[in-house]
Symmetry: C2
Subunit: 128 residues, 2 copies
C-alpha cells in the first residue's frame, strides 16, 4: 500500500472509529487544519463541524464503517476513489465517490467532495 | 433535458466541433472567463490554453467527439458526469469522469477536473 492509499484509508477509518476521540485523532491526522468537507448533505464543513457530522452519522448507524472499494487515481494533487458503507451485519450501501484535493506537500487532504451512489446512466431520451 | 445537462453537453460539443472557431464559441459560451481546466495531461489551463489543447487533441484524433454517457449528478454547485470519446468510425474510448465546479450563478463552468478511464478495483492485497 502506498502513502496516498494509506492516507485515504486512514481518513476512511476516521469515519469508522467507534469513539469521538478516535475519530478526531484520525480525521485530524489526515485532514489539513483548514480543510473543508462537502457532500450532498454537508456544505463545506470545517474540521470541527465535520467531526460533529460524523458523530451524527455514527449515531444513526452505530458501528458502520466506511471502506475504500477502488484503487486511488491521482493527478496534479487531486485524487478520486470509490467507497461504501459496511453495516455491522455486513450489509453494504451503494458505492459513493470521493474526490479529494491534497495539501501542497501531498501529506494531508485539503478538501473532500463526496457524491453518493453510482452515477446513473444517461436517459435514452435526447430530445429537447 | 435540463439547463445543467444542456450546459454540460454544449461544453462537450466544444471538444467535438471540427473548427477552432466553433470550438471557441462553444467553450467560451460554457466556461467562465477565468475558468481553468485540469486533467491527467493538462495542469490548470486557462481558457485560451484549453482551446489550444483541444486543437492538439483534435489534430491527433480528427473528427473525434466527446459525448456525455451518464446523468449529471449535482450538489452545492459541483457536478459529476461520465463521458467517452467517439471516433469517426464509431469506436469508443474508455469512459472518463469530469467533476466541474459551477460559477456562482450556476450558468457557466468555473473549473473542470477530469479523470481518464474507469476507476480500477481495489487490489485484493490489503497487507501493509
Amino acid at each position: 500500500m502506498n502513502a496516498l492509499e494509506h492516507l485515504i484509508d486512514t481518513y476512511c477509518d476516521g469515519w469508522s472509529a467507534p469513539t469521538p476521540e478516535e475519530r478526531e485523532r484520525l480525521i485530524r491526522a489526515t485532514l489539513a487544519d483548514d480543510a473543508t468537507y462537502c457532500d450532498p448533505r454537508a456544505d463545506d464543513l470545517p474540521v470541527p463541524d465535520l467531526l460533529a457530522h460524523i458523530s451524527g452519522v455514527q449515531a444513526k448507524r452505530p458501528g458502520a464503517k466506511v471502506v475504500r472499494t477502488s484503487a486511488v487515481d491521482v493527478h496534479h494533487g487531486f485524487a478520486r476513489f470509490h467507497w461504501h458503507v459496511v453495516l455491522p451485519d455486513g450489509t453494504t450501501l451503494p458505492e459513493g465517490l470521493d474526490v479529494v484535493e491534497l495539501s501542497p506537500d501531498g501529506k494531508r487532504i485539503q478538501h473532500v467532495l463526496g457524491f453518493f451512489g453510482p452515477l446513473q446512466r444517461r436517459s435514452s431520451s435526447t430530445s429537447n
